[in-house]
């Protein structure tokens, strides 16, 4: 049997890689990939603990909700990134410092 601690360690590593990408990348798409990695680490925790909840399925259910939420976030974020690129000709989050009129 695979222990829960193994799952938790894997998800902690994924979460920290995502955190590193969000802080260090100069490209909005890579920042978005970092957010997806963090979400996947959290979902892995939900799924791993859901093994001990056969009747209610709380973990698996909220993992499904989190996946759908991630899809919605990505669609909106990519639309925003494309608009930002149209306006500023760059998608570096550090150089977008003017409000659009």
């Amino acid at each position: 049997m695979i222990s829960l601690t193994d799952f938790l360690v894997v998800s902690a590593v994924l979460f920290c890689v995502g955190l590193y990408m969000i802080v260090s990348k100069h490209n909005a798409i890579q920042v978005l990939i970092g957010i997806e990695l963090m979400l996947n680490g959290a979902i892995l925790n939900l799924v791993a603990f859901s093994k001990y909840d056969r009747i209610n399925n709380g973990g698996q259910m909220f993992a499904l909700f989190a996946i759908v939420l991630a899809a919605a976030t990505t669609a909106v974020a990519l639309a925003i990134i494309l608009n930002v690129y149209k306006q500023y000709k760059t998608i570096d989050p550090g150089s977008i410092d003017k409000l659009g009129d």
Binding site: I2, L37, N56
Partner: protein, 182 residues
Amino acid sequence: MSLAQVLFYLMAFIATASAVFVAGTKNLVRSIFMFFITLFALAGLYVLALADFVAITQIVIYVGGILVLILFAFMLSGKETLNAIGELRSKFISINKLPALLLAGLFLAVLLNMIFKLDADNLGWVKKAQVTHNMILPNSSMTENIGINLMTKYLLPFEAISVLLMVALVGAAHLSRKGRSA
């Protein structure tokens, strides 16, 4: 060591290694395709956690939907600016990345410390679930149970998230229109 454990360590290695590659590589296209590998390995980990329905959903939505969206956004934003950003980044490599590495590493240390102190396999409710046989076994099929729960116990979150998905899709379509008359 059983076969499931060997597969788990293989999948965990693939997932973490490809995630580190995604974070480390300079080439954006290569990082997107390695993210593809990470998501597949995570689906394998979900199967090993006995959540086959979540694994299939992961493949359908993440790999089929989100990754294609990210590729589209990458193809639609210009190539020259991306290259310019890459050059700028490689010049100041150590100055830029040290604080981020420090933050991520310290956070990982805190998380690992907490996980090993927690000792998740001996938690009270986990022990109780093992005693009362409220745990998923490898031969139990959960998809039917998920469907019933989705329509009874979790009906309100289900409806709320479907409305939210609708709103998000309409908003994304509105944001990416050609004419900016609004």
